[in-house]
């Protein structure tokens, strides 16, 4: 029963996200609408975490698997890439490493600075909500 319920909720929200992405002509995909919709429903208490946890964890576990067809499909577009292959490969590689490094370092610097402010920070969680 819990699998049925979770599946129904997740596919229902996916479909709602699909409708939203077609209704509002913003460049936002169905999955992102669905993500925020599910988050909202969980926070509002209209969907219980226990109801979607099992099916959700299944989807999250198999997620890397879902990118294999797209990756294999790359060989099909190799021909198209030929004349810009080197700059594209270089830019994709360097820029990805650069973005990952700056994002991680900025986040870590802020977290550690706040952490160093002492235990007061930790206990004042509630007042901190902005």
């Amino acid at each position: 029963m819990r699998y049925l319920k979770g599946t129904a909720i997740i596919f229902g929200i996916t479909m709602a996200g699909d409708f939203l992405s077609r209704l509002l002509s913003l460049p936002v995909p169905a999955g992102v609408y669905g993500l925020f919709l599910l988050l909202f429903l969980l926070c509002a208490g209209w969907v219980r975490e226990a109801d979607v946890a099992e099916v959700g964890d299944f989807f999250l576990e198999i997620m890397p698997l879902l990118f294999i067809p797209a990756g294999v499909g790359l060989i099909e577009s190799l021909e198209q890439m030929r004349q810009v292959l080197i700059p594209f490969a270089a830019i994709n590689g360097c820029s990805t490493l650069f973005v990952m490094a700056v994002t991680g370092l900025v986040a870590q610097a802020i977290i550690r600075r706040r952490g160093a402010d002492g235990p007061v920070e930790e206990s004042s969680d509630r007042e901190e909500r902005r």
């Binding site: 596919f11 999955g31 988050l39 067809p69 797209a70 594209f88 830019i91 994709n92």
Partner: protein, 230 residues
């Protein structure tokens, strides 16, 4: 063999799952982070198809059903995010600053390197959305006048590259905070990076999920501002 295997709709799915399990086994056996299961699986499927002379179409006919599951899987990213909501509240400043820096850094690095390679405008704008999730990136590329298929290729290459190099980069840069790792993976390598973040831990996965959405939306706003630079 090829005609026989390709005639079943389940062939593409089974080959993908089998290749991924092989990738996981290989990483466990060798302990090398280069043996990333996703990368191994993609290479293994390509090799398998070419060795047994199976057409790509025969594979994708079944394997495409896996791609359909991406949308509900993306929806499910809300679950780790919900579980880590308290962490998100506590680290809101770090989250916002890191993602904004990441998006700006992405645009700046693509701009500088496009200048270095003397790329034309059309290729520059094709690359700009490369770090965000495919469905948003396609729209951004189209809007800016880029070549959408090349944008999709760049997005996938970026994701796989980020997924594979993350452990190594975190080690070199001494990035140890789970929140920082998650934000970095999601901002640089969207959903494919997030699938790695989820393997690292729940906090990493939650932050990475959030970063996909936020970095994607911020990029939508940033690209029109910088697309005229080249």
């Amino acid at each position: 063999m090829s005609a026989f295997a390709g005639s079943s709709l389940y062939f593409g799915m089974l080959l993908s799952v089998g290749a991924y399990l092989f990738g996981m086994w290989l990483r466990k056996k060798t302990g090398l982070s280069l043996c990333n299961p996703l990368l191994v699986a993609i290479v293994a499927v390509i090799l398998f198809l070419s060795v047994f002379r199976i057409e790509y179409g025969a594979y994708s006919r079944g394997a495409d059903y896996l791609s359909y599951l991406l949308t509900p899987a993306t929806v499910c990213l809300a679950i780790p995010l919900y579980r880590q909501l308290e962490l998100l509240r506590r680290q809101a400043a770090a989250v916002a600053a890191a993602i904004l820096t990441g998006v700006a850094g992405s645009a700046a690095s693509i701009y500088v390197m496009s200048l270095l390679f003397k790329l034309e405008h059309v290729y520059y704008v094709t690359l700009l959305p490369k770090s965000i999730t495919t469905a948003i990136g396609m729209g951004v590329s189209e809007e800016a006048g880029g070549i959408v298929t090349l944008t999709v290729v760049s997005i996938i290459v970026t994701g796989i590259f980020g997924n594979v190099t993350a452990d190594w980069l975190f080690f070199i840069c001494r990035i140890e905070e789970p929140v920082a790792k998650g934000l970095a993976l999601g901002t640089a390598a969207h959903a494919i990076g997030t699938s790695r973040a989820l393997e690292l831990g729940e906090a990493e996965g939650a932050m990475s999920s959030l970063a996909i959405a936020v970095a994607g939306l911020v990029t939508v706003a940033v690209v029109p501002l910088v697309s005229g630079l080249i």
